[in-house]
Symmetry: C2
Subunit: 168 residues, 2 copies
């Protein structure tokens, strides 16, 4: 299972980069949000969870004593950068931010499901336990964001039509 172990460690590294980018993206969004307190509060809570997830991934990597290789430029990074940039310009920032967060959560869900399956094949039971916990947190966050799509769109439209700041 040498090749699988190699892939596994690469995927754990990718997941770590992804979680760090998630923190960057969410922190940027929280800093700009003004009029959507429910979303802001839940994002703050999830940043704390995400930092713990990133730490857990780092511990797993350190446990395998891999060299500190440069992290790949994942799709997640492109997304996080895109979102960070777009926040500066777009008039529908909250909608784009919500869509990007919802999308990003599903990348994280996919990553943990791949990691769980691989950890099972390798008998990495302790790591599997960590991934299962993180997956549950990502799923809960994805469900929350899913529930926000329609009400936030409605609130955005109502604020716009009332000439209130809608984008943040």
């Amino acid at each position: 299972m040498e090749k699988t172990r190699e892939n596994y460690l690469a995927w754990v590294r990718d997941a770590h980069a992804m979680e760090e980018q998630a923190v960057t993206m969410m922190t940027g969004m929280i800093g700009r949000l003004e009029n959507y307190p429910t979303l802001r509060e839940r994002l703050q809570q999830h940043v704390a969870e995400t930092e713990q997830q990133a730490d857990a991934l780092k511990s797993i990597l350190e446990g395998h004593e891999t060299e500190n290789s440069m992290l790949k430029d994942t799709i997640g990074m492109a997304m996080a950068k895109g979102q960070a940039l777009s926040g500066l310009f777009v008039s529908d920032e909250i909608i784009k931010g919500l869509m990007a967060s919802y999308t990003f959560e599903h990348m994280e869900i996919a990553a943990y499901r791949v990691l769980i399956k691989t950890a099972q094949k390798l008998g990495e039971t302790e790591a599997e336990r960590v991934f299962v916990k993180s997956l549950a947190q990502e799923q809960a966050m994805a469900d929350f964001l899913a529930d926000q799509l329609e009400p936030t769109t409605g609130a955005f439209i109502a604020r716009e039509e009332a000439d209130l700041t809608a984008k943040r």
Copy 2:
């Protein structure tokens, strides 16, 4: 509802760009896939659906006689490009491609849910009907891809360990 109508048209344009990028991404993936026939077949079916979705969005735009403005560089484009590029290099292409497709489907789901809510507010009932149909197709594709995550990871690992081409 003038501002809302403006946002609405911008979002329909974004969705059109997103669907075109989805076609690019899936076509690239289909062209490279060799050993995962179930996934390949379902992707081919979804490319046909996606082309119809893009056409439907174009018709809606044309119905509003908007000028042919340059489409925004959405996060979707960055993802599609990232995925198209990554396919040339990565040894775990099928896993990354599956994760990216699953993620992309959720961006599309979010986009259609925002569009449905907005079309309802604007009384655009015919467009709403189109979006509801596309949303159902995206959800079905997302469910299919979700079900593929563990078996494809398992198949990838098995092929790698048997020294068979695993990445495509």
